[in-house]
Amino acid sequence: MSHSSDEDVAAALGGGQPDALALVYQRFGALVYSIALRSLGARSDAEDVTQQVFVSAWRSRDSFDRRRGTLGGWLVTITRNKVADALRERQREGRVLLQAAGGTAVTAPEAPPDQVIDRIVLADELAQLPESQRLVVVLAFYSDLTHEQIARMLGLPLGTVKSHIRRGLQRLRSRLEADGVTH
């Protein structure tokens, strides 16, 4: 199956189509779960938050306005809110436990830094680059190779490698600006 574009998925949700939430979940479930997992550590908690995010997204789908932001960005915001709720709940439980045990100190729960979320958004977009573009971009990011060396190794024309790098970086940038939290 060819996967729907983010815009198609957003339109389906906005239209309240019956299988829209399934599409949204297929497209963004890994992103939401990964942010929750990285924030909360425990898989069971991440699973709970993931469910809360999509249930909440469905119930408040009328408040999603495509003209004001992307579906991905909207879901990231809901995820951050649900993560914050989960951390507060943990703190509350911790306080109850501590009081029962006669202690007092409770450290404040820590939300993950915004850059962590942005890096997960980046990984999500990187995963969606066309495969040849992705391999070039990964090598450009993480190896010490220059674009000329990458071209030679992959047997690709220099122009192709340069174009992959430019398009790849610009696409990652656009996604971060749309769905990330630090911009």
Binding site: G29, S34, D124, P130, T146, L169
Partner: protein
């Protein structure tokens, strides 16, 4: 004056000394080019930030059931909805296939081209491939780290491959995992294909074909559960148009548990 070529800006964001002195001068003086360079540089810095590997993981299948139940049977029924990590190939990944299932005609896969000659990486020669005198390595990127090196050995039931060996080098760079497979075997009719086999012995993921030098580097589809897909298999495939595993395994190896943590 025309603006700096966007491709040059992208390369400069990566730390390369691309373009002419005039390009550099322009990019410094021009607000638009400077801002574009800053935007791209931020992406590179974010990607290269050391410390933690933020990776994508798919939620367990049961997560959807809870959502479907909570919203009251409105969306698609529980079965058959799974969060996937989409890939740029237009299909969901990972795409494990049943061994017996027909996968359609073999098309010339784009990844075939990319598997060419990454032998340098296989040998760990990340720096200084070829005589690139004059190329200054400004890039201080966290190197791709080696996760595991696995010996590939023939299976006893294939007498014809008993002299064949191979190696698989698994490397990780942030959220990406690369697998480089090199085979030491004579040329044979057909071609060699690299697979990840699941524990059930039926499901498998094709990583791609080895090139004429019998090596290839492949991106392991993000989200692949390597605890399950823990066996590397190289098959000898006839040119018959079938995309299924030929059931002729040349060598195999097992990912060490250290490679599977994380």
């Amino acid at each position: 004056m025309s603006h700096t070529d966007p491709e040059i800006l992208a390369l400069r964001a990566l730390g390369e000394t691309a373009g002419t002195a005039r390009d550099a001068q322009h990019a410094e003086g021009c607000a638009q080019c400077r801002s574009e360079l800053a935007r791209l540089t931020e992406v590179v810095q974010l990607a290269r930030r050391e410390g933690s590997d933020e990776r994508l993981e798919t939620p367990p299948a049961r997560a959807w059931d809870g959502i479907a139940a909570a919203v009251g049977g409105n969306p698609a029924s529980a079965a058959a909805v799974a969060a996937t990590i989409p890939t740029g190939n237009g299909a969901s990944a990972p795409a494990p296939r049943q061994g017996r299932k027909h996968r359609g005609p073999r098309r010339s896969r784009p990844r075939g081209r990319l598997t060419t000659a990454l032998a340098g990486l296989a040998a760990g020669l990340i720096i200084g491939i070829g005589g690139t005198a004059g190329v200054v390595q400004l890039t201080k990127a966290p190197a791709i780290r080696v996760v595991a090196q696995i010996e590939l050995r023939p299976l006893p039931q294939f007498a014809q491959f008993q002299d064949t060996t191979g190696t698989a080098l698994m490397r990780a760079a942030a959220a990406q995992q690369l697998m480089t497979v090199t085979l030491h075997a004579p040329r044979r009719p057909g071609f060699y294909e690299v697979w990840l086999l699941a524990r059930d012995g039926v499901s498998m993921i094709s990583l791609g074909d080895l090139n004429a030098a019998q090596t290839g580097t492949f991106i392991i589809p993000p989200g692949t559960d390597l605890r399950n897909y823990s066996r590397i298999d190289v098959s000898l495939q006839p040119f018959n148009g079938s995309t299924q595993h030929s059931k002729t395994s040349v060598v195999r190896g097992l990912l060490p548990t250290a490679a599977l943590a994380g």
